[in-house]
Amino acid sequence: ATLDDVKARGKLECGVNTGLVGFAAPDANGRWEGFDAAYCRAVAAAVLGDPDAVEFVPLTTKTRFTALAAAEVDVLSRNTTWTFSRDVDLKFEFVGVNYYDGQGFMAPKNLGVSSAKELDGATVCIQTGTTTELNLADFFRANNISYEPVPIETNAEGQTQYLAGACDVYTTDASGLAATRATFEDPSAHVILPEIISKEPLGPLVRHGDPEWGDIARWTLNALIAAEELGVTSANIEELAAGSDNPEINRLLGTEGNLGEMLGLEADWAKNAIMAGGNYGEIFAKTIGESTPIGLARGLNAQWKDGGILYVPPFR
């Protein structure tokens, strides 16, 4: 089973993007940083107790599924949209959603468009090998307008083309649009159009057929989200782990009950996972949140209590 493999190996192999601003990119010391990378660390911390026991495997859109299927990676945390066919036909198991996204458009202000429906005849930059190009084709077909696609391999490439005016609009997941716009010399000269033409629930996934491992991946993600909901942060976690009044926190942090044992992990698995990079909110704020250059608002990704749709099953 995957869990045994990982434990034997002492390292978690985690598939990430070869480079996507805010989500996964190596820094000057070769340390992978970003929203997706943080999830990998959390899983490693949960399973092995060490957030740095991760081997990051950069994958392209083409290689990501084969790498997962061939067990080259234990978990794929690479802004992958959860779709029916990927789950069912390609035989993967999505363990949840860590980012609710949707495909949008960005255009320069001076292009003078305020809605995607006005884009008849426009040149559109899209990243290939993802669901975006199919969404795009569907959207334009449905609205009966024409467009010219410019397929590009990487986000960096798309950004260059868009800025130079080689395409009128740039379409990708709204998070990506915001991230990209944030790094422009003059972000205010570009607008993100109101239409979100697709649902893009991004989440980590594992192989079919190993439900125990799937549970670990799923509940690690849930633990991060629940921690935020319950107010467990990396700052107060030591204190709370000593015991608190809230039984759910106690169960989560392993001071009560035997959730960890059920998963085949240590009792403090969730504590380790949260300590690796903080709870969901902390990770979000640190990597892509409003205080970072990327500046994404929580939006849909806020807790259900705060008007978002993050809603995790209870820990009991």
Binding site: N17, T18, G19, L20, V21, G22, A24, A25, P26, D27, A28, N29, G30, E55, V57, P58, L59, T60, K62, T63, T66, A67, A70, A71, E72, E153, T154, N155, A156, E157, Q159, T160, L163, T180, A182, T183, F184, E185, T292, P293, I294
Partner: protein, 493 residues
């Protein structure tokens, strides 16, 4: 016809040519301003050069070396009052990554050492005019220098002293003995230094160990495989005949490597633990990755190429057609498709459960790719050998394998060296394609670096730097292969 007779009494002295044909002016006239058309061409060319440089140089000259992000660069450039300028900070921050990828910083001495040792290992193969002494001297020197980059310990100091002594001694003999002295010494029966090819053979095992680390016993075991093969051949050839012995001599080491070497290595390691910290191939990146793929693939493809070339030359129909099919198939498809195979299909072709990492798989496909080209290069070398060499070998009673080993291959390989070098250059350049399947070679890394919020939006500096890296490598190699070609042409030995 006596009027025809003429005798010069005084020889004419040599005179200088008319001034307009010599000196700088003569040269300029002849080479740049010879006629209207040429003059126009010269002016146009100079204009082009000035125009290009005029655009590029100011951009390159930009005091942004210490900038920490693109925004800082923009500020610095803006402050200096220029419209645009390069942002060199990214190179400053990332060049170690571009060279070594994710190789642990404290271990980078190892690949560097492997790289320099590579040259020393190649010297006896490529430059046979450098003396043995010089070769050993360089080896000792490189090792000596390397010791200064390691943590000092008592053992290290002893090693340093020994190496320093070796450097001094060989260096002294190098300076003190001229070539003719040497000849006398040899005649007098003085001991010669061992053949540096020994080191070349060792290097084959040393290099993977330096790069990947791990216990020393794995490469030792691998080397043992060859010894086993040789022993099998020596012992069985008289009993079973050459052909059977050769087949067995190939099979035995393969069995050893596949089945027993792991056991051997772990057993020995348990008894005598000695090794380097292991580094996973996933941590290879940048230029190190390109060089590793290129060098390994070429080195391994050489024997495969020889076998394929012999197969293609053979008059055994089946062997020949198998070789031809393989060679033509590989040469007929683009490398990128082979890399796709490596990245998405190879695991499907291998027994369920085998999982070797993507870099090894890429090396395998690159080797397969290179071996087809290598086979053609070696076939060229074989074809350049006069038929008489084969006949003479036959007439002396050498069998096919001996003739190949002693007569044909040494010559054919020597003729092929320039071809091998250019195959290597081609492969080395082609290693950039691995970026397409997500490996972080310099090109792949440039995308990752641009995904860093600090450097998002940088284009030219990264590509320019990568282009320069490759240019330096391949240009020097291609010059070198041209030099070899010239030397081989005049080399009548």
């Amino acid at each position: 016809m006596n009027d025809l007779s003429f005798v010069r009494t005084e020889m004419l002295p040599e005179r200088d040519p008319p001034p307009s044909t010599t000196g700088v002016i003569g040269w300029l006239r002849k080479n740049m301003f010879d006629g209207v058309w040429n003059t126009l061409l010269t002016i146009a060319s100079i204009g082009l050069i000035v125009w290009v440089l005029g655009h590029i140089l100011p951009w390159i000259w930009s005091p942004t070396w210490n900038a920490g992000s693109l925004d800082q660069c923009r500020e610095i450039v803006g402050a200096s009052g220029k419209a645009s300028g390069a942002c060199w900070g990214v190179i400053h921050e990332r060049w170690p990554q571009m060279l070594y990828g994710f190789y642990p910083a404290e271990l980078r001495l190892r690949p560097t050492l492997a790289f320099f040792l590579l040259f020393i290992a190649l010297i006896p193969v490529l430059f046979n005019m450098i003396s043995r002494r010089m070769n050993w001297f360089l080896l000792a020197l490189v090792l000596f220098v390397a010791t200064f980059f390691t943590a000092s310990s008592a053992l290290m100091i002893v090693v340093q002293i020994v190496l320093a002594a070796a450097v001094l001694y060989i260096g002294y003999t190098l300076v003190a003995n001229s070539g003719s002295d040497r000849a006398e010494q040899i005649a007098a029966g003085a001991r010669r230094l061992p053949n540096p090819l020994i080191f070349t053979a060792l290097y084959v095992f040393l290099m993977p160990w330096l790069l990947w680390g791990g216990t020393i016993w794995t490469p030792v075991g691998a080397a043992l495989g060859f010894v086993i093969g040789w022993l099998v051949f020596r012992l069985l050839a008289p009993v079973l005949g050459t052909l059977t012995a050769i087949i067995l001599a190939f099979a035995a080491p393969v069995l050893w490597w596949l089945l027993l070497n792991g056991l051997f290595a772990s057993a020995m390691h348990a008894i005598l633990p000695f090794g380097l910290e292991p580094v996973e191939s996933r941590q290879f990146g940048g230029l190190l990755l390109s060089v590793t793929i290129g060098v390994t693939a070429i080195a391994v493809s050489l024997p495969m190429g020889i076998v394929l070339a012999l197969g293609r030359q053979s008059d055994l129909v089946i062997v020949k057609s198998l070789s031809v099919i393989f060679i033509e198939f590989i040469r007929g498809v683009p490398l990128i498709t082979l890399l796709f195979v490596a990245s998405v299909l190879l695991n499907i072709f291998l027994p369920p459960g085998t999982d070797f990492d993507i870099i090894l798989r890429v090396i395998i496909m690159a080797t397969v790719f290179a071996s087809a080209y290598m086979a053609e290069v070696i076939r060229g070398g074989l074809a350049a050998l006069p038929k008489g060499q084969y006949e003479a070998a036959d007439a002396l009673g050498l069998d096919y394998w001996k003739a190949q080993r002693l007569i044909i291959m040494p010559q054919a390989l020597k003729i092929s060296i320039p071809g091998i070098v250019s195959t290597f250059i081609g492969l080395f350049k082609d290693t950039t394609l691995v970026s397409i399947i997500g490996l972080l070679d310099p090109v792949g890394l440039s995308n990752s670096i641009r995904a860093d919020t600090n450097w998002n939006g940088i284009v030219w500096e990264l590509y320019g730097f990568i282009a320069l890296l490759f240019f330096i490598f391949t240009f020097s190699m291609s010059r070198y292969s041209m030099y070899l070609e010239r030397r081989l042409r005049t080399d009548h030995r």
